[in-house]
Symmetry: C2
Subunit: 245 residues, 2 copies
Amino acid sequence: MKKNYLEKNKPEHLIKDAKVLVEKYPKVPLTVDCVIFGFEENKLKVLVIKSDLEYYKEHYSLLGDIVKDNEELDEAAYRILKERTGMNDVFLDQVRAFSHPNRHPGGRVITVAYCSLLNINHHQLKIHDNDLNWHSLSDLAEMAFDHKEIVDGCYAWLQKRIQEHPLGFNLLPVKFSLRELQNLYEAILAVSLDRRNFRKKFASMDLLIDIDEMEQDVPHRPGKLYKFNFEKYEKSKRKWIGIDF
Amino acid sequence: MKKNYLEKNKPEHLIKDAKVLVEKYPKVPLTVDCVIFGFEENKLKVLVIKSDLEYYKEHYSLLGDIVKDNEELDEAAYRILKERTGMNDVFLDQVRAFSHPNRHPGGRVITVAYCSLLNINHHQLKIHDNDLNWHSLSDLAEMAFDHKEIVDGCYAWLQKRIQEHPLGFNLLPVKFSLRELQNLYEAILAVSLDRRNFRKKFASMDLLIDIDEMEQDVPHRPGKLYKFNFEKYEKSKRKWIGIDF
DNA sequence: CTTTACTATGTAAAAGTTACACATTATCTG
DNA sequence: CAGATAATGTGTAACTTTTACATAGTAAAG
């Protein structure tokens, strides 16, 4: 963005050729890693693959790839997600960059983490592709590189994010019961919530559409099914003001 | 983080030499830009310098520099801040990366934005250094590169952040009045708040220490002075659970 | 037809938020 | 030194939100 500090202390003059300047900049390999959360059997899962590196043989790693020349980071993230899962209609948010000099055994590589949520049952995985699989978040112990740290960072980010945005609806079928919704929140936030208060909360937000259908094939009294009112949410996104710490 | 997609479709085998792999990765110039907010005369300001590039002659730009070999991004941000302002005891948070391919006229440069808040009166600026100065946020129209976009992004981030963390105390003198505190919040959040409710809110948080001194040299009834209880805040950081969107 | 395992719902108490007005106290001015 | 000015400091009632908690209903399975 600017000449470096040593250069800066020379007598002032403007730099005429920005290209020449940038050519002198040091360069680093840059990758994107996707932390894809999914939800199944009331558990939060993360999409992982076996690492390609002998160094990390049998360790899991995230879906990642280099950023191409002239590719935006967002683009790279969507590309990777699409290449690996076939999906292209998913929220994908930049979380942050990880830059520890020794995070990659091959030398310095900086990575930018992206986070997403998707519905496991809506997306068929190419299972044989490097042992791609949904791994339960709670017993994801060791991972290749600093990927465990990245997952932890994204999980914390997700917990916060889901309290402010209805990301969770990506994890549910189009029609879902309130119980399914609550299970989702309980799994992601790792808390248990009072059912009556949970329902009241969502009822008061008025973002669920009662579609007048019931659950099928459940071994107990079926619950009502709802849809999420995406349109209304888009219109009424609140900008909150409140100081709380 | 992984071999790219074309390579991936070759028959499976593990990569023995991670170094060789990384050497093949494309590399990009990477910079850090610091968005330093300060507060003076009840206005929020940003620290800017004149751009070095003839291309952006007379435009302001952020404090930025390349990331050195084997330097962490956080380190780079703290280094830049220290080099330019002399400060090294400030919160500095990564906001996000900006990667538009044409954001720099010299070719592709990716930058990671960091955001900070500091007390203008506590830090003497090297004024002749590239016309470094505090520029009022509200009339910062054009900037070099995509720096206006970066500032806007960081400002939005800051507004949110300051509602959850007491960052604002960095902008105030050690001893401050409640009015000063309120002015700060009003300036950053761009709202006006009820004085009684504001005071009640902070009183209930119990994070202010009444130091039993009064303002001096004010042309009206002086207010009480307080200190922020950093220690107590550290102990009681709340982890909130609440769904709201 | 009884058990099981859920769904569905209401209410009272507590906590937090909002809106609002008046007395007080330094300083400044004439 | 009296009055005007420009702040500080405080309390309360209405409202909203959150929390805690218990009972009745229904489909399926045996």
